[in-house]
């Protein structure tokens, strides 16, 4: 137990002292995961809207498949993307492997099912009468979809936060695709993994506490912003 306390103190010390490397790692984690969530959202929210509003064959099956992929193992996603962007892969020419971009791509793929699925269920929670009203009042189909997304904003943002949580806390894809290169692709999770293996348990724990606090702060900020809106 004393280790935990010590780790806590050290984490505070690292944060208070603004330890250059820790800050850099934390910011990199934040930047990579935020980019992944924002980019994935830009795709998933409209696509989720389309899946919800359009009726087509296999819609139920598609939604089931999406939901199944909520819990896809992060290493599998890492491996899958790795195959695509490694030298011999179809996108090998872009030289993306072991870059922050590769990690962003990996995390995007990882959280796409969550964002899609939760967007769809958020929209399903909105009364059909809202869409009818919007259309009746002269909205185009896209304006109506946007109106409903706005109505479902709390649930959509919850999806966003879930996605962010999964992205910033995963280690498999970041390790395989980023390679944990110091000062370049090292993020909080890969750093924790490394420090643990090195036996630097206190530092690893401190980084873990920073990771959790980061997720907490983001959550609070987003919810606060939402209340005001």
């Amino acid at each position: 137990m004393s280790e935990l306390w010590e780790a806590f103190l050290q984490a505070i010390q690292l944060i208070v002292n603004l330890d250059r490397e820790v800050v850099e790692i934390a910011l990199r984690s934040l930047a990579i995961s935020a980019t992944a969530v924002i980019m994935a959202s830009l795709v998933c929210i409209p696509v989720g809207g389309l899946i919800h509003f359009r009726n087509f064959q296999g819609k139920r099956v598609l939604i089931n498949i999406i939901q199944t992929f909520y819990s896809v193992p992060t290493v599998c996603v890492g491996l899958f993307v790795f195959i695509f962007i490694s030298r011999a892969g179809p996108l090998g020419g872009l030289g993306l492997l072991f870059t922050p971009t590769a990690v962003v791509i990996g995390q995007m793929v990882l959280i796409t099912p969550i964002l899609l699925g939760l967007t769809i269920s958020a929209l399903s929670g909105i009364d059909k009468a809202i869409k009818d009203s919007a259309l009746s009042l002269g909205a185009t189909e896209f304006q109506a979809i946007w109106t409903i997304i706005k109505e479902a904003r709390f649930a959509v943002v919850a999806a966003f936060i879930m996605g962010f949580g999964r992205a910033i806390s995963e280690v498999g894809a970041a390790m395989i695709l980023g390679g944990n290169i110091r000062g370049y692709t090292r993020v909080l999770t890969t750093a924790i993994s490394l420090e643990t293996q090195k036996g630097e348990l206190i530092l690893a724990l401190a980084l873990g506490i920073i990771l959790i606090s980061l997720a907490l702060v983001i959550n609070v900020i987003v919810n606060f912003a939402l209340q005001r809106y």
Partner: protein
């Protein structure tokens, strides 16, 4: 000039069609009420007219244009009308944002939106509510927001689906007042669904009676009320004294109708042997204590089975071998000393009898 016309509109699978053969026209600046019991298909019809759903068969013409042509045209036409739903639907934002919505989706400027919203707040008596969250309003207030929102883009056609159902009487009269003013001042064409016959009579120029997915009769409120086309319509619009019978004799236009042993004389085009219904308006029945000579062709002896006082009037149900309801003033009831069980003569003219299928 005709604003909206439907031709042979149908909706739903053949065996359980929700609407069949709906054909009617609505003139510009006319208030058309669709009256019918719950489940008759009023909402389904309004949704088709608002182009939210597509009819299974038939056509809708708006201002002479066939609305089925293209999605683009449907949006264009839909923007010339607006619908208020039965259950008040408001967006989860402020009252101001709610009312501004139709102008926003049409890409209007900030200034214009502000003046128009203020104007609508004034008209619907919602001033001071603009910052309130629409979800926190009462049913009546929310419905007024929905009404303001529907009218802000100055639609040529306003579709109202039971706009006052489930509201308290004060909210109902407030909404009716707003509607009546708008109709008068902006010459908006209105199609409203209601199951409230008196409301239809108060607001409508024309009434269409919709039952089981079919329009049974279209006419002015007095036409519908005074000469309903059949028994179902008569019962729905609240006509009293509907009696079933068979025509037993015919002499020119004068017919003798057999009703449970009693005979009624009336004017009708129906032939001998036809099964018909007769309607006698309670106001057309005269009660007397003794049999008097008069021009009334129908005189029945009976006793008073029930008496109810409604304001200054007394409704008297007489049992003359068949039930007959009449209305007299309180004063004449007192002067004739009418009370339960008293024997009386009820008389009415042959021309007061309305014969329908």
């Amino acid at each position: 000039m005709t604003l909206l016309k439907t031709v042979q509109l149908g909706y739903g699978a053949d065996c359980k069609a929700l609407l069949r053969n709906i054909t009617f026209e609505v003139e510009r600046a006319e208030v058309f009420a669709l009256i019918g019991p719950t489940g008759a298909g009023k909402t389904t019809l309004l949704r088709l007219l608002n182009l939210l759903d597509t009819p299974t068969s038939g056509k809708i013409y708006f201002n002479g244009q066939d609305t089925t042509k293209s999605t683009q045209l449907r949006l264009h036409i839909r923007r010339r009308m607006a619908m208020v739903f039965q259950k008040p639907v408001v967006f989860n934002s402020s009252v101001y944002e709610n009312i501004a919505y139709p102008l926003k989706v049409r890409g209007c400027g900030r200034k214009e939106i502000q003046t128009r919203v203020e104007e609508m707040l004034e008209i619907t008596d919602l001033k001071g509510y603009e910052k309130r969250r629409a979800r926190t309003l009462s049913g009546g207030e929310a419905q007024r927001v929905a009404l303001a929102r529907a009218m802000i883009a100055r639609p040529e056609l306003l579709l109202l689906d039971e706009p006052t159902a489930n509201l308290d009487p004060v909210s109902v009269s407030k909404i009716e007042e707003v509607l009546a003013n708008t109709i008068r001042e902006q010459k908006t064409t209105v199609i409203m669904a209601t199951h409230d016959m008196p409301q239809g009579q108060r607001l409508a120029d024309m009434i269409g009676v919709l039952m089981n997915g079919e329009i049974l009769q279209i006419g002015s409120p007095s036409e519908i009320f005074c000469s309903p086309s059949n028994k179902e319509v008569a019962e729905f619009v609240g006509v009293e004294n509907i009696l079933s019978g068979i025509i037993s004799e015919k002499d020119g236009a004068l017919v003798t109708i057999d009703i449970d042993g009693a005979t009624i004389e009336a004017i009708s085009e129906f032939a001998v042997g036809d099964k018909i219904c007769v309607i006698i308006r309670p106001e057309d029945i005269t009660f007397t204590l003794a049999k008097e000579t008069s021009s009334a062709r129908n005189v029945f002896y009976g006793e008073i089975a029930r008496m109810t006082t409604v304001g200054q009037l007394v409704r008297i149900e007489a049992d003359c071998g068949f039930p007959l309801l009449g209305v007299v003033t309180k004063r004449s009831a007192e002067e004739l000393n009418l009370n339960l069980g008293k024997n009386i003569y009820a008389s009415f003219k042959a021309t007061a009898v309305h014969v329908i299928k």
